[in-house]
Symmetry: C2
Subunit: 434 residues, 2 copies
């Protein structure tokens, strides 16, 4: 069979990785796919001196590529929402299949993109948009198709995980590690997307949709960053047998879908608590399979290219099939998506780590315990440290049983109003991930 | 669309799990697959009082089911090589697709089965044959399709991993834990398949074929069991920073394919070294994705059913497509399989843990070091314990760098011939899994 012709839009890190993998493993890929995959044209705004594109035709106009009648599949790797959205919509309009690594685009404009793709009978594949080289979208959408998914929990931002790993292993402060991560190229000059959880929320939004069969609803995701985390809390968590990870959690409950990214205490003996450095991992809990975990490099040139090229092979196989029999974009048939609502954070349920700075008075613990018990909050364990010398304050650390966020918020307000409690109460969610 | 009709052969643990998952999640599965999956008939030799099959027609003749013209897909869950092989071949001959959880059947008769399936244009799906609820065959065959796979390493027998976990955590002896595993139902009355590595070798044979695109060659797999492992070695490994796991390793080298199951020291900080109890995990190293890991329940009623039903959904989607565009049974096109040979164990390369019981004489270490260096074996580290009181022998533990098995075998022969070395030298392979 003659090779399938692919156009690559964007020749940055992932674009050049994709070009290189397609070239280096061309024979291996053809042995699998049954036909070759040929890069027919590349669109790039700036040339990439690190990528030897040989005789492959290059254009600076991404739209020329999308309009090229010889090209069957467009690989969108330019990132962002604006040009990328226009490009993908026009590619679909032109009847071309699309492979993208763009999590922001899918999380924010995915519903519109998939509706248009359905109308035109084309495939939009996006394995590379979540967790780089880990084929977790395929696992969730196909491998676990027998299951009613209960929850998904993932370390899906390598930068954040690198920072937390360094904080724990070396007792370093957040700001200090962030600067190193920027110097190493793990973190952007503006680290907001990574450390504030926005990047993770994009990915979690996608995972939640394919896990539960709901439309993409990035605007309803709750995000809380790791910039406020102190080495003190990292240390206390460790002493209690937990690790702190920046976790994306999507859970299906009778009331609705929880969709939240925040620092999270996880028992240290869980496999996912031991995922360190820039590595990613996603846990999925299904009613039949139980808990599974998928681990690997969540970013980087070739791991992400691995996902892009796997999508290309999938598209090559599926492009001649009846669109009705393809794997649906969001795992569930478009007319069978659920309107189960995404819950506001106050309606989410979790266990909690609370750190209270209290004056070293008798009776403080009784006051604290009473505020919690009035709101039906059960204490799982408590750790009271020695008074710190410089201020005479006692850090009191509590772990609670699972409770609605709104009850904890009310309790924290009441705790902070106590005259013996000084400064804000630190609240970190706890997930046991059984 | 009208439901696809499925016949289940065998209503044991996995059979009843499959029936239950299809019934319980019928709506969820139809929302995904776009059509229902209906169990039209069940064949069982003995009735299973634990499974309420309602009004589903039952026959005691598995071949009646295979010849039933109303049935599109046969689910083979009777196990074994004999009747199962006949059943599957006849189902294919009758133009039916097959889903099976039978690792022995695929590892031993897969080449013949897939050739016949190709001839008849039907699909034989076997995700459930390896690592139960973990969709690792899909990950390797599709999710990592961009990669040249370097190696696969897996904990793929839950019974063995349960025994090793208990030995390490509680210092218990092999025989003692085996008896408990039998009482708990984790191990069969005849535990040979599990503890001697035969079951793991069946699964590894399958993983190796789809990783490297080679025909199934179970007869060439090297297997070594865990029955000889002592708590002493488990403890020494721990002291050196390693865990002992019963690992299946398949590695592609310039000379050929290594295919081996044996006890293995793994650095304790590797994620896979922390996979405990009956859980399974498979690591895959590809040239683009790097190392990925897939973890979950490797056996059990519903985890295995999860894989069977996911295969059913895949078959439902692919059955109407052009057979040439389907995912090939062994990941690579049948005419593009490789004849890269499977290596005998003597030609495999590994690092080694050696335990030598020596008389407490000066000069023994020099003799040992000289034997190793003559054969080009470099020592990575050495640990010499105090003489044990009862016999005055000194356990000397060596970790070597990577070397061909034949050189280690030669060295061990020479070491055992030393007059100061008493009894056999213990040899356990070491894999760093970077």
């Amino acid at each position: 069979m003659k090779p399938v012709k692919v156009g690559i839009c964007g020749l940055g890190t992932v674009g050049s990785g994709t070009f290189n993998v397609l070239k280096r493993n061309a024979e291996e890929i053809a042995r699998r796919a049954g036909r070759g995959i040929e890069v027919a044209q590349i669109a790039q705004r700036r040339s990439n001196p690190k990528c030897d594109t040989g005789t492959t035709p290059i254009t600076s106009d991404v739209f020329a590529l999308v309009d090229n009648p010889d090209i069957d599949i467009i690989v969108e790797l330019i990132g962002g929402y604006t040009v990328a959205r226009e490009l993908v919509m026009r590619a679909i309009e032109n009847g071309k299949h699309v492979v993208t690594a763009n999590k922001a685009l899918i999380a924010v404009h995915g519903n519109e993109i998939f509706a248009k793709a359905r109308e035109k009978g084309v495939i939009v594949a996006f394995e590379a948009s979540v967790a780089g080289g880990i084929p977790v979208i395929k696992a969730l959408r196909e491998g676990l198709a027998a299951n009613r998914i209960n929850w998904v929990a993932g370390i899906i931002n390598g930068t954040g995980n690198f920072i937390l790993t360094e904080m724990r292993e070396k007792g370093r402060a957040f700001e200090d590690v962030l600067k190193e991560a920027q110097a190493l190229g793990y973190a952007e000059a503006d680290p907001t997307f990574d450390v504030e959880g926005i990047d993770a929320a994009h990915k979690l939004t996608i995972l939640a949709s394919i896990a539960f069969g709901i439309p993409l609803q990035f605007d309803k995701a709750y995000t809380e960053g790791i910039a406020q985390l102190t080495t003190a809390d990292v240390g206390y968590a460790e002493a209690l047998g937990y690790r702190i990870k920046h976790l994306g959690v999507a859970r299906s409950t009778a009331q609705g879908i929880e969709l939240r990214v925040h620092p999270t205490l996880i028992p240290a003996d869980r496999l996912i608590a031991n995922v360190n450095g820039v590595m990613n991992a996603v846990m999925v809990n299904g009613d039949a399979a139980g808990s599974t975990l998928f681990y690997g490099a969540g970013a980087g040139m070739e791991p992400t290219a691995s996902a892009v090229v796997a999508d290309l092979v999938d598209v090559v196989r599926a492009m001649t099939s009846d669109p009705e029999n393809r794997v649906p974009h969001l795992a569930f048939q478009p007319d069978a998506l659920s309107d189960h609502p995404v819950l506001p954070i106050e309606a989410c349920e979790s266990a909690y780590y609370l750190r209270i700075q209290a004056k070293d008075h008798p009776g403080v613990l009784a006051q604290v315990a009473s505020i919690l018990s009035e709101r039906g909050i059960n204490i799982e364990s408590i750790m009271q440290k020695e008074a710190e010398e410089h201020d005479g304050l006692v850090p009191m650390i509590l772990l609670t049983h699972r409770v609605l966020e709104q009850h904890i918020s009310g309790a924290i307000e009441a705790l902070e109003a106590l005259s013996d409690v000084i400064g804000p109460v630190v609240r970190i969610r706890v997930e046991h991930l059984n």
